[in-house]
Amino acid sequence: MRALRAAIVFIAAVFVAAGVFFLLAWRSEIPEDAAAAQASFAPDLVAKGAQLAALGNCIACHTVPGKPAFSGGLAVPTPFGTIYSTNITPDRETGIGGWNEAAFQRAMNEGVDRNGSHLYPAFPYDHFTRVSEEDNRALYAFLMTRAAVKAEAPENDLQFPLTFRPLLACWKLLFFDRGELEPDSGQSEAWTRGRYLAEGLGHCGACHTPRNAFGAEDRDRNFGGGEAEGWQAYAINKDSKAPIPWDEQSLAFYLRNGWHEFHGVSRGPMAEVTGNLSALPDSDIMAIATYVTSIMGDPTPERGERAAQLREQFEGDRLEQTADSQSSLVSASGAGSGEAIYIAACASCHEGRQRQPFGGLNFELSTAVNAPNPQNIVNIVLFGLPPADGEASAVMPAFRHLLNDQQVADVLAYMRERFSEEPAWAGLVELVANTRSGAHKVTIRPSDGIERAPHNVGAEEG
């Protein structure tokens, strides 16, 4: 009798749990709207949507280099397997052509697709949920007026049970904070606008915030540094390693132009970001800079002092007076040492007279040399910075054919020692070998990014 009662309670509990899970996970299908792709939109709304899509950098994930824009299919590697981006052109069969605006609003707001399936957070709806209904309307208008492209994305390659999408409802329960941000009355209008742009569509934290074991951003370490496409996204909070700390002006200049004289050239996935931000008005760029520098906070007095010295040394024309290096120090430490290679192969540009963005950045100013993880500088040494297509741009030649793993490691160890106060990097040779072999996959981008034009010449899947 007791056993029977226990069994009944157990079964009831299972049903209740299943019911709760069902309510939690179930989302209704929004019926297909056959006319959605034929709708017309006000040109102003489409133009605004274009700007917002650039801010959201939608094209970077939703396009395979060299293929039609927004047609999806890009492999996005995650620690849980590979996710392929979806086609967001208005093709009815393979894209979002059958989505009405409500379905699009829900996807942005909740991370649920038209037929009610939960989306993987590789689509950064943890940020996009902050986007206003009005801005989503403009984005929708922009996307629905693109050319429809028939292109089916490959199936995701994920481990079971992650293939079971209703489980994402649990992920959302734990990590997803839905809805727009509360206004902060103590802050300026520019700061509030900057927060809206950076935390929302701009989704800076998707790369610049570290993730926990479940792939969710660790909010306690907001902007504390993360990873993207084989590159380190530097810390952009108080832990920023920039020798001259960013301020509003320098960050705005960098975001506007893709380089800054004290910080160098944007590259890797950030090149796409700065490239796309060119669509935004100055006021929005400034607002993002206002917000992000407020997160960085004021530098410590020591850092400030060091920065003042560096400014003195590198500001404007002083560069030309001080830079006259490439003296032959090779004999001091023997040919072939890291120092000798640095002096012979690196210093002619990196300690030269050429100004940013065309000259090499002096490593006294380099965040890369001071970063806790040497991945970015390894990437750049091996693969260089390919030129932009058809326009003057920053270029760095690749050294993978000239330096072996040990030599790259030696050069970097020397540079770390000479240009940084930070402790030596561990495991350099192995890191270089894995990056070279592709075991650590790196996406190579020219300094203007790529996915902004129909021609993606120079794009290379590393």
Binding site: G66, A335, G336, A340, C349, P387, V395, G458
Partner: protein
Amino acid sequence: MSISLTVNGSPHQIDADPSTPLLYVLRDDLALNGAKYGCGLGQCGSCTVVVDGEAVLSCMVPVMLLEGREITTIEGLGTIDDPGPLQQAFIELQAAQCGYCIPGMMMSAHALLRRNAQPSDEDIREALATNLCRCGTHMRILAAIRRAGELMKAASLPESDERRAG
């Protein structure tokens, strides 16, 4: 300091500071003047040579990194009397205007064609992205590289040897 270099298959003993760029040694010590000095900063590509099958910029490679490696310059692709397929194609299609960038263009193309004898225009543009030309003969350069690919393919077929026949 004495350094041994292998250029176009021949060994050479060079007396040079190990930090000397390869370009200077090629031009000043070995009288191989095909590779050109353009910018000296690895930005223009006119100094391109091939090292172990890969295009590299000789203006910024110190010779200390090159011992025991196979260096090929434009002089290694053929002679005036017996031009190689790339040289033949560039002459045939008159791909040079002033010609200063052409040796670099040809060496980048050489490295490409070794990997891929039938490159698409996209492949060629990508491989030559770091080679600048001010005269603007790009379309002819593209055509010449495609032609060189054809000549190489024809030359590798046993039944026809276009190069000798032509």
